[in-house]
Subunit: 156 residues, 4 copies
């Protein structure tokens, strides 16, 4: 996807993933069920965690990310067929956690369908306790956020 | 389920639904995926909307509930096999919306696995606009909340 | 659940699990989506694999079950609210695989909603190859099937 | 997607949809859960039903498609990240039903991950009974199958 095709609202997001809306994601009200939006968030979050080195950190020294909390504000119902673009970016980074901001953009309506956020905590899976974000991950986040502007857009 | 079996933390909730954890609800980390908690919330919410008359209101005059936003704070990972009790109660009721509070209790660990909330808006599906909560629904909510203490517990 | 409450059609099944139908399992046609029936099968299958010792076999010597294929015949649409009883039994046991038969019974309609089957293969996860069903598992299956008549009914 | 990029195995399929594998589709075994393959089938089926006129037939005269049965043979486990191509074609068309054949192709492994089929029945939703496939739909199916060779490929 060329940069020029990224909607303006997603330009500040270093990670933008593209997800086709599946027919079975709609519920009995005929629009995409609210829980699916959290799945969209998760897909963008996982790609972000891959790119900033947090998945690798878990594999090498068992310090990984854990989800503390998440929330979503629904703006427009989504329907099949459609394709959404889901942006993820870090809006604040603290010692042992950071906040993710998400935006779901409907290509069909050319509007924002939902916005949300999550608090992601750095967790030592050996010691079963929160722990400072590893330096390599902190650098990865900084690198991603500097690049921003959807430059890491990804179809997965 | 006799009242005496309801955990103390769920006593203030007029609606408590029982849901067995399904094996396939666990993700690659081996615990129940975060999006499933929102499905648990929804199951309690739908039962609440049935009992307070909001589903009937939609059927008779197209004034129904619409989800404005929702959030979840994860406290303890859930695993199969387990059975959760999910409580829903209204914590504030305004002119055209009310706030729901949810608690997910794990029978296996005898602990709270997650807490959350949602803002539910009264919506006129004909006029496509928010509208005051119908009087009958407002009464239904008041009746449920007075009863409280898990008295409307339901296995579905 | 007392034996007397088990519907006749499920009496030949050694494993019967009880699952409440969740509202969000319904799709845009207003009935439970076809993929959910396979989740119901899986829940009964996993309980069966636990009881016959196949999950333990995987944990102790990495010989576990793998799903070769599965199929479902839909008989009656399901809706929320309802609670289904899902039976699983082995209908044939060969050297390195067995066939499972499933029946999903709707408590609301007191009718069979779907029937299906699966071929489950014994797999050596170290050698990445099929392998004979371990003797302990073979005995576990025989024990379960002898007992049958829903005697191992389980609410999860 | 240019025709030249369609894998040979999918060339006989008039409908090929592209679906990115979502991280949360993996279960506790670390690969895509079996029920998700049926969702992939459904996404291809719905696109097929749109293109052959069966969705429109339901909207105009309440004669629509209903799923009789479906089955899947799993060949290779799928993982995130990956993108699958899912083909659907009609392999036999009878008076009141047709058989769909599906193939799920992993772009990551360049191999077939699963094959399956479904029997789709023509149903009069007013009379609650099976009914001959409408002529317009029968023509739509014939048109699609003549074109074949992935010419109707679709990213949704």
């Amino acid at each position: 996807m060329p940069d020029s095709d990224i909607p303006t609202v997603l330009k500040p997001f270093p990670i933008v993933v593209r997800i086709p809306v599946q027919w079975s994601e709609m519920d009995a009200y005929g629009h995409v069920n609210n829980t699916v939006l959290f799945r969209y968030f998760e897909s963008a979050r996982i790609t972000y965690l891959e790119r900033c080195g947090f998945l690798e950190s878990y594999d090498t020294n068992r310090i990984g990310a854990i989800l503390h909390s998440t929330e979503c504000r629904f703006r427009q119902p989504l329907h099949h067929p459609d394709e959404v673009l889901v942006g993820a970016r870090a809006t604040s980074v603290n010692d042992d956690r950071f906040t993710h901001s998400y935006t779901v953009f409907s290509q069909e309506s050319a509007q924002v369908a939902a916005v949300g956020s999550a608090i992601v905590v750095s967790f030592d899976y050996e010691k079963r306790a929160t722990t400072p974000i590893p330096v390599s991950v902190r650098d990865g986040i900084a690198r991603l956020e500097r690049a921003a502007e959807g430059s890491a857009i990804d179809a997965r």
